[in-house]
Assembly symmetry: C2
Homo-oligomer: 413 residues x 2
């Protein structure tokens, strides 16, 4: 009795809903018998004709168990609370979709709460939903890292079943995350193989846990690969991306440190929103992508294929993340022993979606911001060169662009 019936039995409007006692009366048995039969209690044996009659009557009356009464008795509501920061970033949408889907498969409803993003507040703010028995557990997708000073402190620990989605909580064993380091390495290996030596990562504020982990992974990976890395943090908005890119360009033009004022030749951007800003800034600085700067988005979205210059991206298994988080939470809810709790890392393979924003680094001259104001030498100006050697790819897709590996949103399953 978890999934809704394909066609709910019609119920006369105005009449009260059918209850166990109504069926019991009609059949001529006790409600407990009806309950056991309808719930398939194996401990109960009934005569076949009674069994049959109970089911028939239930269908006739369009019986639906009162979830409230059932939950009250069972101490289990069958609902999950999903605490989510309603960012515009499409990643949450995909995550949410994965979670909703899985929860409904497993017979759970999901309530959504918008995160108030109030760091001063203990995460227990949402516990009231569980305390009021509205939900059995919490799916915490708020993105902020637990501030260091509260790390491990008492108030960070929730006494109710919960799971941190796409972030790490204050305690171990309740996190469901993706392999951010692998995503970063996918980017780095790709551009390193093409010969890039100076790379950048533009991402959100360090307070965001995924960002923190990506930056860490990038630093580590660049050290072993002998790449020079610049990490820039900014708001997860178009404006933030724009501003970070500006900083990157300025830094490139004013020599300081060992880098010697040289600009990175490849850049990864942590979110779609920021990507738009970065691209605008690059455009403003007359740095053509990918000739002067290779670009990789760490958010895959279908719109990337349709941009001015289609942007290569790393596709993360977001739906799987949501789905796995629901599974993990339900496991914690239904578990007898809480010892089984362990962090989950989504192993679903992530992939590089190759488009046109990555190329070899500018071979001859090093691009610097000061030289960038002059017309870029290698830029093919399409309208002026009709018989371009690199024709349609830049700005004139002749066939409909399409993401090679992005699954189209499936209508079913």
């Amino acid at each position: 009795m978890t999934a809704p019936p394909p066609v709910p039995a019609p119920r006369k409007a105005g009449r009260r809903a059918s209850r166990l006692v109504d069926i019991a009366e009609a059949v001529g048995v006790h409600t407990s018998t009806v309950s056991r039969v309808l719930n398939g209690d194996p401990a109960q044996s009934v005569r076949p004709e009674i069994y049959e009659k109970i089911w028939r009557t239930a269908r006739q009356q369009g019986y639906r168990p009162n979830a409230l009464a059932r939950a009250l008795k069972r101490r289990h509501t069958g609902a999950l609370a999903f605490v989510i920061p309603l960012l515009r970033n499409p990643i949450w949408v995909r995550l949410q979709r994965g979670a909703l889907q899985r929860a409904s498969e497993r017979g759970y409803a999901v309530m959504i709460i918008e995160d108030e993003v109030d760091e001063a507040q203990p995460p227990a703010t949402y516990r009231y939903l569980v305390d009021e028995s509205r939900a059995d557990g919490l799916l915490l997708a708020t993105s902020l890292r637990i501030p260091a000073h509260t790390e491990g402190s008492a108030h960070g620990l929730l006494a109710v079943p919960h799971v941190y989605v796409n972030r790490r909580g204050p305690e171990r064993g309740n996190d469901v995350v993706m392999d951010e380091p692998a995503a970063v390495r996918l980017f780095l290996d790709h551009v390193a193989a093409l010969g890039h030596q100076r790379v950048a990562l533009i991402d959100g504020p360090v307070e965001i846990d995924t960002v923190h982990r990506r930056a860490l992974a990038a630093r580590r990976a660049c050290a072993t690969r002998d790449l020079h890395l610049t990490v820039l943090h900014a708001d997860v908005t178009e404006e933030g991306g724009w501003e970070a890119a500006q900083r990157l360009l300025r830094r490139g033009s004013t020599p300081d440190g060992v880098a010697g004022g040289t600009l990175p030749t490849a850049c990864a951007v942590g979110s779609l929103n920021q990507l738009f800003g970065v691209m605008a800034a690059l455009r403003g600085a007359r740095l053509p992508v990918p000739e002067a700067m290779s670009l990789v988005s760490l958010d895959e979205d279908e719109c990337l294929a349709f941009l001015d210059v289609p942007v290569t991206s790393v596709a993360m298994p977001l739906a799987e993340l949501g789905s796995a988080a629901v599974d993990a939470l339900i496991a914690r809810i239904e578990a007898q022993d809480p010892v089984t709790a362990a962090d989950v890392m989504i192993r679903e393979p992530m992939s590089l979606v190759h488009r046109d924003s990555v190329a070899r680094p500018p071979g001859a001259g090093l691009w610097t911001a000061s030289r960038a104001s002059a017309p870029p030498p290698r830029l093919t100006c399409l309208p002026c060169r009709t018989s371009s050697a690199q024709p349609a790819r830049r700005s004139a897709p002749s066939a409909c662009p399409r993401s090679p590996t992005t699954p189209r949103s499936p209508s079913k399953s």
Copy 2:
């Protein structure tokens, strides 16, 4: 007792939740007294010291009323079910945010259900949530129009409180919609004032109610303004937009009918996803925006300001829509007489967000697709003309672009 307390009283892990009877026992009164005091029942008078002691004990024990038991008794759950098509289109995110916000203000929780987009299914599919007393009412944001053949038929009518959001349901009086005609007119008036005479609307499938209404409004408004209109329907995806734009261009090149094979000079696009496709197609056809084609997005999004050519848009009051829908639904839930039901049209002013994708129509020669394959005469190729007469605007924003009227996502309220 609607909003969560700012700081929930800490409760020892492992101990059972505090109940009314616990407080009653501690204070030395009956549970009914505690209930009435805590609920502020004005019919009850208690001695001040008892009153005080009850509240103190409740706070001490971190009492939270069991929402299940309360709902069971009151026949009212305080939860709303939001049936939403989880499209990538950001409009749903904004709508959802508005609804969540308002619902929480009014003390309601919101459960989200993903729409199965199964037209064959009666809308009652989601009624099970109400039938099981999980929710008090339905917020139906599924976008499909009620198919004509089921219009008014019995199964389309829901016996449970519900409201159609951003669409019209089969019966009147339960719709909460925005003024789509006004949005269309905003676009038309703007481009008509600039001298455009042939306009186009690229939008989703006619089965989507908003699309239907927009198309209708466009036809009507164009008739009175003596504009020639082309309406194209396509999937609400980048690919759909691309394909529709291709159709538009083909139609422009093969003269048929009175239009004489001339292309529209201004085009509105119904959704952000489609917009990307349309822009890609225009780029592919060497039709510069706005020189050869003015473009207006009927979805406002901040990323529009950061595109290759920043796109003018119509900003719709989506958050207000969600908020008003919640209000309307709660009114229906709490109403004694269902006669008060009436359709709601959001009157929040919508506005044109002026960017750079709209200009006067190409004055001299008419642009046709056949001529468009030649290098567009008026296109300024920036890298080739460093001292361009139209400098930074096209592709080099010198300051960070920003939407003039788009409210930044507020942290509070």
